[in-house]
Amino acid sequence: MEETNESTISRREMIVGTTAAIAAITLANVMGTQAAPHSVPLSLAKVSFTVNGQSHDLEMDTRTTLLDTLREHLHVTGTKKGCDHGQCGACTVLVNNQRINSCLSLALQHQGDTITTIEGLGTPDKLHPMQAAFIKHDGYQCGYCTPGQICSAVAVLNEIKAGIPSHVSASLLDTPQVTNMELRERMSGNICRCGAYSNIAEAMSEVAQKQA
């Protein structure tokens, strides 16, 4: 039997012609810049945002995710890549105080955004209370999921405070409480294969109690 992998190309749109050189015709007007059209099939575009308080004006390959922008271009490597497909949570960062998976977001989608990564929460000399609680309760082992867990944990407590319900909230109308089950459900987008879950929940409870 003979096979080739060329069949991998997939959908309707593709038939339109994948080899055509792409000109960034729309760049100049959309970006409000004088970007020259590119004749090579590489497309760049500009974006500006701040990361941990520092502003960046970047010109990126349009394909670059926020995650790869942070790690490979800005060399802010605290944010981790576990799957690159939204399936693990290691890449969790805070964008305008909301947590997202930075692997499923283009850098270009963040024009004007305020981005906070694990490095922006605290440093070894000046730990964020959540970082300190993770250390105290041993809420990590290999440490690879940890930046994502901590960013999520910080966001989760804010989400509960803001009254956003969850799958396990008994009532949609009552204000959600910081229960063990609420924390666990809300943290479920952050996989820890080392299995530090039980300790993470304790770290979070402690921070929540101190905040209350």
């Binding site: 729309t26 760049l27 939204g86 909301q98 947590r99 109308l173 459900e185």
Partner: protein
């Protein structure tokens, strides 16, 4: 990921027009499904129109007591909206059962409706898949089909629509408003929006190429107990094996839509009069003509039993 050009649209009309102007263009909302598929080159748009900031992020009451939901409202904001929580509990519950907190912050209402199947063979470009490459064959039918569809499927594709929110919206009789590149607007029910695969599983919706979803409209609330029961192997962050969205009245009547079993949220209105007779009678009607594989046959029983659990819960 193939290279693409990128632009940010600032109004719905501009987005639709831009899409018509550029071949191979695709709208980017949250990006949580499209970028995932682009990385695998299952999708390969030549041009991306970022619609994140076209102003469709509001939730407004309609004069008749319903709700208009902007296409770009995030899953989190929709689930947390006070009116949704009070009057459309089923919708809030379905949203909160989906994906993860991070993904719900990014995922949008229209993007969620249009998310594509999670069939594992669709996701692996080395495998035969009629949806990805029309006419190539379907590896799933004789392969690993535990999660896949049992009804509404065809001999060319047994994939399911994987989402949760749309199940609730189907039960709530939501409609979708769109605008085309020429400015024409139309309204579709969800059954009108989603196609069944037949022999063309690559055609998933009836939207035209440059048609933009602008709004989802919910009719005035239907009273009753709202329950969304999602069944999966792990407790969270997993797609449904089966999900049952129900609105049930005290007298036992109500409506039910089911997820995880078909190419679209599965609701058969004509079966609903059987609800007061119990889960067995209703499910028999709902799943009439089902064609499960050996691996997903269990879903027949699972639908009935999940519904039984829901009916039981509604009584308490």
């Amino acid at each position: 990921m193939k290279t693409f050009t990128y632009e940010r649209a600032s109004t719905p009309a501009e987005a639709a027009a831009a899409s018509a102007r550029t071949p191979g263009a695709k709208f980017l909302a949250g990006g949580t499904n499209l970028l995932d598929l682009m990385k695998l080159e299952i999708e390969a748009p030549q041009h991306i129109i970022d619609i994140g900031k076209i102003g469709l992020n509001k939730i407004e009451s309609t004069p008749t007591g319903g709700l208009r939901i902007g296409a770009l409202v995030s899953n989190t904001n929709l689930a947390a909206h006070p009116i949704v929580r009070r009057d459309y509990g089923l919708l809030a519950r379905a949203l909160l059962a989906g994906a993860s907190g991070q993904l719900r912050n990014k995922a949008t209402t229209a993007g969620n409706l249009l998310q594509r199947t999670r069939c594992p063979y669709f996701y692996d470009t080395n495998q035969l898949c009629n949806k990805r490459v029309p006419g190539s064959g379907c590896a799933a039918i004789a392969g690993f089909s535990r999660q896949l569809g049992i009804i509404g499927t065809s001999t060319s594709c047994i994939a399911t629509y994987p989402g949760d929110m749309a199940v609730a919206m189907r039960a709530l009789d939501a409609t979708v408003e769109t605008v085309k590149a020429n400015g024409a607007k139309r309204t579709l029910s969800l059954d009108q929006l989603y196609r069944l695969p037949g022999q063309t599983p690559h055609l998933e919706t009836t939207l035209e190429k440059n048609e933009l979803i602008t709004t989802v409209v919910l009719p005035p609330p239907v009273g009753g107990v709202h329950i969304y029961h999602k069944v999966r192997d792990r407790s969270s962050y997993a797609f449904a094996l089966v999900s049952v969205g129900a609105i049930l009245k005290k007298d036992g009547t109500g409506r039910v839509a089911v997820g995880g079993i078909a190419p679209r949220p599965w609701r058969i209105e004509s079966a609903e009069p059987l609800l007061p007779s119990g889960a067995k009678a209703f499910t028999a009607q709902l799943l009439k003509g089902a064609r499960p594989t050996k691996e997903n046959e269990f879903k027949l029983a699972l639908v009935e039993r999940t519904l039984a659990a829901v009916l039981n819960e509604a009584k308490h």
